[in-house]
């Protein structure tokens, strides 16, 4: 593995130099297990960055740190070049970073509208909202319906349907719509196609491209190489708790990526981070 410190990275051809979201030297230890070992990360505006790595490489820890679900022991996270600290997922959400978790983080017995606004409910204006804490349901339902139809996802009469009566792809759609609706800077998607069939996977991939076309950069964590190579602009390969390299899917094959991931092959110097 290369240990050079100069940052000679692959960047999208016309990208500005400041990454939307970046991290340097993130460290996280659990007892004697090191989940992140000086991990780096860069996400540029308008791109889909795939993060791949073998099981246990520390992808989850990296993503959790970026989405506020984990506080790293060391290292810094920058948002638009400014150093930030996320003490909780709420902090990251407030900063405009939305995450679609692998578990989707939906509450099955609540309705689609309730789920989209879970944790950031809107209250009625005036006394009803401030003293009686009354929710503004019509407004939330309208926004939820608008957001879902914007992504071509939902029929109008079903916004109050409990999420537990939806199929896997539909639930994924709700989770993606929630992220796209509230994410103003970055959307992180953890294994969005892992639980889906071929047909539903395709639709979710198109949904991801849809979200990018709105100008939101996306971090995509996936084990599915064909999906990664199909939609990613750059691929961040994680190995042994840190970023091994970033490759361009146009210049590398899936077997290259797998070889880097598993350590069967060492990336050329100019790719190493």
């Amino acid at each position: 593995m290369s240990t050079q410190s100069t940052l000679t990275e692959l960047k999208p051809a016309s990208a500005p130099l400041t990454p939307v979201l970046s991290a340097r030297g993130l460290v996280k230890r659990y007892g004697r297990v090191t989940a992140m070992d000086r991990a780096d990360f860069d996400l540029y505006p308008g791109e889909i960055l795939a993060v791949i790595g073998d099981n246990g490489a520390g992808k989850s820890s990296l993503i959790k740190a970026l989405s506020g679900a984990l506080i790293p022991d060391d290292g810094e996270i920058r948002l638009d070049g400014e150093v930030t600290r996320f003490a909780s997922p709420m902090d990251a959400q407030r900063a405009g970073i939305e995450t679609v978790h692998q578990s989707l983080a939906l509450s099955p017995s609540l309705s689609i509208a309730d789920n989209m606004f879970l944790g950031r409910e809107m209250r009625r204006p005036g006394v009803l909202g401030s003293v009686f804490r009354m929710l503004d349901r019509p407004r939330m339902q309208k926004i939820a319906r608008d957001k879902l139809s914007e992504l071509g996802l939902m029929t109008v009469q079903s916004i109050n349907q409990p999420v537990e009566t939806l199929s896997g792809g539909q639930r994924q759609g709700v989770a993606v719509a929630r992220a796209a609706a509230f994410g103003s800077r970055v959307v992180i998607m953890d294994e969005p196609t892992a639980a889906l069939g071929v047909k539903e996977s395709r639709r979710v991939l198109e949904l991801i491209l849809d979200v990018r076309s709105r100008g939101l950069p996306i971090v995509l964590i996936s084990h599915n190489m064909p999906h990664v190579f199909e939609i990613a602009d750059r691929i961040h390969i994680h190995r042994l708790g840190r970023r091994l390299c970033v490759i361009d899917p146009k210049n590398h094959t899936m077997s290259d990526a797998v070889a880097f991931m598993t350590g069967a092959k060492t990336p050329a110097e100019e790719l190493a981070a």
Binding site: P89, Q93, A105, L118, T155, G169, L205
Partner: protein
């Protein structure tokens, strides 16, 4: 139904299809539409019950009332008897509200009855024996209720102990404290009436068209309305369901689950203290032996009312109906001249049927 493929193709180019995906050209593009395949009548029933969780208890209550008026006749259906049933379920109704809040979070509170009795003893003892002004004694009782709830809450949220075990333990502890503080002595009704009539306020009868209600009955209905509003019209209520449904998901959505859980246990304790107030009104005296069955009766009302012990499902209206069902069956069977043991038998059957039904409704799928 919308055809998803027609609604706004993204401006950016579609990814080039890989060879093995060529067959997908003919694929069905619709993903997020809703299943309209014909359902069997049974599935329709299942979906209806899933969407209307209080339907079953409401039907059972109606059947019970109709059944007993046919069997027992006018004596059951008299406005006096029906209002008596409402008086009889007041205490369980109030404690049931507290229990419902806990059950929605996938917990259970075995100590509700013990908290109620302890609070009633504190109110009575401070006002009558110690001679404190009644409003102060009342507030002290409310404080003790909140404190008991806070102890349960801390044990559940900080030490992460299962609610069943925590409240099994605090049940005994609160009951022992109650015996110690009261010296196992009952404060007579006359003494309460003389020293602190405020404590008996909820027992004041109100006659409406031959029916006899007490302020306690209206107090219970007011509390039901208030908690219904909180559960259905405020963010806190929504969060309660989310925490009971899937705590991990709720946490990721930014809900501070521990804070929500803790406040629910405190709220349940305060509601139990309000139940203590209604208890003194109902029996007049303050007895450390009163309300012994409230712990389990409240769970019975909640379960028959359609709440799920696995959390995330349940309603206040359902619990009220559940308490009324138990009241109607006990009263109807008693008027039919059936032995008391068959009342217990019937309530047992109702519980098991209610839980079996909940399991079936939960299996509903798209």
């Amino acid at each position: 139904m919308t055809d998803v493929s027609s609604s706004g193709a993204p401006p950016s180019g579609r990814p080039a299809k890989q060879a093995f995906e060529q067959v997908l050209e003919k694929r069905d593009n619709r993903v997020a539409e809703f299943d309209v395949t014909p359902k069997s009548p049974l599935q329709r029933v299942q979906h209806f019950l899933h969407a209307n969780p209080t339907a079953v208890p409401a039907i059972v209550l109606l059947l019970g009332i109709v059944g007993f008026s046919l069997i027992v006749g006018g004596r059951f259906l008299s406005s006096f008897n029906l209002s008596l049933i409402i008086q009889q379920v007041t205490i369980i109704g109030i404690i049931g509200i507290a229990q419902t809040l806990i059950v929605i979070t996938a917990g259970i509170d075995l100590s509700v009855g013990a908290i109620m009795v302890l609070c009633s003893v504190v109110m009575g003892k401070l006002a009558v024996t110690m001679g404190l002004p009644a409003p102060l004694a009342f507030l002290a009782g409310i404080g003790v209720g909140g404190g008991c709830g806070a102890i349960n809450g801390v044990l559940v949220t900080r030490l992460k102990l299962p609610p069943f075990i925590v409240t099994l333990g605090t049940w005994s502890i609160f009951f022992a404290l109650n015996l110690w503080y009261s010296g196992s002595e009952t404060i007579r009704s006359q003494d309460v009436a003389k020293a602190a009539p405020l404590l008996q306020f909820l027992g004041t009868p109100v006659d409406v068209l031959g029916a006899r209600f007490t302020y306690g009955s209206f107090f219970m209905l007011g509390l039901v309305a208030l908690v219904w509003y909180v559960l259905n019209r405020t963010a806190f209520g929504r969060h309660l369901y989310a925490v009971g449904d899937d705590p991990a998901a709720a946490e990721l959505a930014g809900i501070r689950t521990r804070k929500v859980l803790f406040s629910v246990y405190v709220a349940a304790g305060v509601i139990c203290a309000l139940g203590a107030w209604a208890l003194i009104g109902r029996i007049g005296s303050v007895s450390p032996q009163a309300g012994q069955t409230a712990n389990l009766d409240s769970i019975t009302a909640v379960v028959i009312g359609g709440a799920s012990l696995f959390g995330g499902r349940g309603s206040i209206i359902g619990t009220l109906i559940g308490a009324l069902i138990v009241g109607v069956f006990r009263n109807g069977l008693a008027l039919s001249g059936v032995d008391v043991l068959w009342q217990e038998f019937t309530v047992g059957i109702l519980i098991i049927v209610a839980v079996a039904l909940d399991q079936w409704i939960r299996k509903v799928s798209a």
